[in-house]
């Protein structure tokens, strides 16, 4: 009961906020109050973030302070209080302002494409990535064995390394002289150095 009483204040809040002349009541107006209604407010604010202010393109309700979005904030709270769920409330606003009032297109019909294309694109991308990497690896047999890799780009870091830095690198053991590596790794290094 207390819960409902507190919540119902919220509607009043928003009305007062827009129409100063009608406000004779004293209590400070709150949208988040004591702990009980925090869950409610979280839902309401979630809805605010998923609806667009109809007259300010691109701004969601929570970003917008114009009259119409204040009204919408009040209405969505009233409807939440009546027990409607998020989808019903969104449908209500879509019926009123058209589908562009939703901050993200619905996952139905034509608009499903928005949601499907990215994951499908990423999946295709992963497939391509694997194919490319396999392709790049397959080349390895020929090129490395024949030792016909082109000239190695000179690297000033390598050349400028003093001995203690070499020691650091050995210590960091990011590489090739660690015992974990197969012997042909070392061969690879020699090969490179000789090419240098």
């Amino acid at each position: 009961m207390l819960f409902v009483a507190i919540i119902s204040l919220i509607g009043a809040v928003q009305i007062q906020a827009q129409s100063p002349d009608s406000s004779t009541e004293a209590p400070p107006t709150v949208t988040i109050g004591p702990d009980q209604d925090r869950e409610f407010e979280k839902r309401a604010q979630g809805l605010e973030k998923s609806l667009i202010c109809p007259i300010c393109p691109g701004e969601t309700l929570d970003q917008s302070f114009v009259q119409i979005s204040q009204d919408m904030k009040r209405i969505l709270r009233e409807k939440l209080l009546e027990g409607q769920d998020e989808d019903q409330i969104k449908d209500f606003f879509v019926a009123r302002y058209g589908p562009s009032v939703l901050a993200a297109p619905p996952r139905t019909g034509f608009n499903l494409i928005t949601w499907i294309v990215p994951p499908v694109g990423v999946a295709i991308g992963i497939a391509l990535l694997v194919i490319v990497m396999r392709q790049m690896r397959r080349d390895s047999g020929t090129v490395v064995a024949a030792g016909v890799g082109g000239p190695i780009p000179e690297n000033e870091e390598e050349g400028g390394l003093s001995d203690y830095l070499a020691e650091v690198d050995r210590d960091l053991s990011l590489g090739d002289d660690s015992p974990d590596h197969e012997p042909d790794d070392i061969v690879g290094v020699r090969e490179r150095n000789s090419q240098d």
Partner: protein
């Protein structure tokens, strides 16, 4: 002044045209004199543009309302400081700024371009000047900043209230410079391709200019976010709106490039791929210009509606065709020197990195374009906004963060599972422990917990490597600080990169904190009343106001208490500008420190959360409607900026362009068979 400005523009146009055409003709005919004179004339074009900018700034500062653009974007009432920067507040002036800054960047690039690019230089100049000529043509025909006003009313319109903010001095110039600057690395690579320097001759020039432009763009985006946070009054900083999206797309691909270019630098691989990336970045930069110029409103409906928009669209398509032709022409010459040896290697890590960054770019582009597509194909207007982008891009960004922890630990060429395990055990362990700790402490936002886990993984991987490197230096007789510094200076690109990764961690902390844990209330308070949000009690004292020629400003005096202790006095501010029928707010932000370091200014103490108050409305009965929010970890968003800069400066410091010329050949051969591959990025 108008005459001087117009004449400078005409002069710049002629010089740039001459420089572009002359350098190509000179290179074809083998005339060194013609090439040199073209090169000098490109410098002169830059100077002429500087004069034009100077003329416009002078017109603003002296309130020359006989120029339409000055009349439309300034007035006498606005503070004098803003007249210095009002020149880029509108379409024409910002286009002039873009042209001037681009030409200035071109001058520097041409001047410092390495000698090994000598054969390509005429073509690099031609590409740069071609872009300049396009901008100048638009300025001279469709967007003349010096066009006379219909009548000199002796007063101006004033600058848009939202632009009256200190951020105005930094954000637009950096953002625009970054967006247009992405053409510089492209010009290097395109010039080299045309001249047939298809090996790695262009690599350092492209890499250094790409990192520099990347840093400028990063700073521009971050300062823009900070601006939005303090002035737009909704407590957010990033909304995935189309303008933000087109600014972030070139940045994302640039980020991919500055990683993958290291593979080319170190291993002679991915050459083709890097050329493709730079072309993409260039076209995305043009796309950004088109969206920005397409119409004054951020409405997707007005796409390309104005003439100037369609001209930018045309130029973008031309750029894309140009880049594609060059790429296809030189495609056969761009083969890798060597193959990918293992999926468990840094090369492979960079490939995955590139894939993920392109993934975010593709998703973002799709989100920007879908409303158009829907309207066209389905005849229905839809909005694709923050919830969609967060949902789709969030997981990819998380994957990037995780890769950022693992990738740097993979050695070049190949490794074994055991070696990977040895390196990754500690970071992954720390990541797991972090997640468990956060979960047990009662935070049950799954994505936030995973995100924090990933961030701690990255941090511990960097620290692990730094610890080992520093300890090695310690054994060589250095203390911690100088040991760390010697390690960093031993491989600045790599360790500068790590510092940038740390900046990303800070950014990530801020993003997760503010997106998942923000609390907010809109309340109306009468004087003397207070409202409690979480542990903060906000007491409204009274309102004061001030009337000026151009605005009526009001601010609420507010006391903030935590427990019984007063922690801040704030004065959230709002002003109404009758000339624009527009209000502008200034948020009052109190950084509640995580640890209070005495003697430090408030903003330097590592932040726990921001208490953020904006006045929405001052009611006639004396009450005020405040938006009060608690934005956890917001401080970390802004501290990432300076860290970014430090990391980038370290990475770029020993300008490889200059050093390369002077490295004696014998020094390039390692004296010992050291593990050259392990030097890393």
């Amino acid at each position: 002044m108008a005459e001087l400005g117009t004449m400078s523009l005409l002069l710049a146009f002629a010089l740039a045209l001459y420089a572009g055409v002359g350098s190509v003709v000179g290179a074809r005919l083998g005339s060194g004199d013609l090439v040199m004179s073209s090169r000098r004339s490109s410098y002169m074009a830059g100077l002429a543009l500087a004069v034009a900018v100077g003329a416009l700034v002078y017109a603003f500062v002296t309130h020359d309302f006989s120029i339409e653009y000055v009349r439309g974007h300034s007035d006498r009432a606005q503070s004098q400081a803003f007249t210095w920067v009002a020149m880029y507040a509108g379409n024409e002036g910002s286009l002039l700024y873009i042209t001037a800054i681009f030409t200035a960047m071109s001058m520097v690039s041409i001047y410092v371009s390495p000698r090994r690019l000598e054969p390509s230089r005429p073509y690099i100049i031609a590409v740069l000047m071609g872009i300049t000529v396009f901008f100048l043509a638009v300025l001279l025909t469709l967007a003349d900043p010096f066009a006379p006003a219909a009548f000199d009313a002796g007063r101006g319109m004033g600058v848009n209230p939202l632009l009256r903010h200190p951020g105005m001095f930094i954000h637009p110039p950096l953002q625009m410079a970054g967006l247009v600057g992405v053409a510089i690395p492209f010009a290097f690579v395109a010039g080299a391709m045309i001249a047939g320097q298809t090996r790695d001759q262009w690599l350092d020039a492209a890499r250094v200019s790409a990192i520099a432009v990347w840093a400028v763009l990063s700073a521009g985006v971050l300062i823009g976010a900070w601006w939005a946070y303090t002035i737009l009054g909704w407590g957010g900083y990033w909304g995935w709106d189309p303008i933000e999206n087109v600014a972030i797309m070139p940045w994302l691909v640039l980020t991919a490039f500055i990683h993958s270019v290291m593979v080319q630098k170190r291993r002679g691989m991915f050459r083709m791929w890097n050329v493709a990336l730079l072309s993409m970045i260039f076209v995305l930069g043009q796309f950004g210009l088109f969206i920005n110029r397409g119409g004054p409103v951020v409405s997707v409906h007005s796409f390309g509606a104005s003439t100037i928009g369609s001209i930018f669209l045309g130029f973008m398509l031309f750029s894309a065709a140009f880049a594609l032709v060059i790429f296809l022409w030189r495609y056969p010459a761009l083969k890798s020197d060597r193959p990918l040896e293992s999926f468990l290697s840094r090369e492979a890590g960079f490939l995955v990195n590139n894939f993920l960054f392109l993934g975010v770019t593709f998703v973002t582009l799709w989100g920007v374009l879908f409303p158009l597509f829907s309207e066209f194909a389905n005849n229905e207007t839809v909005t694709v906004s923050a919830p969609w982008f967060n949902r789709i891009n969030g997981p990819i960004l998380l994957a990037i963060v995780i890769l950022m922890g693992i990738g740097p630990l993979l050695p070049w060429r190949r490794t074994t599972m055991t070696s990977v395990q040895r390196w990754l055990t500690i970071p992954i362990g720390i990541g797991m422990v972090t997640m468990a700790t956060i979960w047990i402490s009662g935070v049950h936002e799954l994505w936030a917990v995973i995100g924090f886990g990933a961030l701690s993984l990255v941090m511990s991987a960097v620290l692990e490597e730094w610890y080992r490197g520093t300890m090695a230096q310690r054994r060589a007789g250095h203390n911690f600080a100088s040991g760390w510094w010697r390690m960093v200076s031993g491989n600045r690109p790599r360790h500068g990169g790590y510092i940038v990764h740390i900046a990303i961690i800070a950014l990530g902390i801020g993003v997760i904190g503010t997106s998942f844990f923000q609390q907010r209330a809109d309340v109306a308070l009468a004087p003397g009343e207070s409202f409690t949000l979480d542990e903060y009690r906000v007491e409204y004292v009274n309102t004061e106001n001030e009337q000026r020629e151009d605005r009526i400003s009001e601010w609420a005096n507010v006391n903030v208490f935590k427990g019984d202790e007063q922690i801040a006095e704030l004065a959230p501010w709002r002003a109404f500008y009758p000339a624009f029928n527009m209000a502008s707010v200034r948020a009052s932000i109190h950084n509640v420190p995580l640890v209070d370091i005495p003697g430090f200014p408030e903003y330097l103490n590592p932040g726990l959360e921001d208490l953020y108050i904006v006045p929405n409305e001052f009611l006639e009965d004396g009450r005020v409607v405040l938006r009060i929010s608690i934005n956890p970890a917001a401080w970390w968003l802004w501290i990432s900026g300076p860290v970014f800069i430090i990391g980038t400066v370290i990475a770029l410091w020993p300008a490889p362009l200059l050093e390369r010329r002077t490295v004696p050949a014998h020094r390039r051969i390692p004296s010992t068979p050291q593990p050259a591959e392990s030097v890393g990025v």
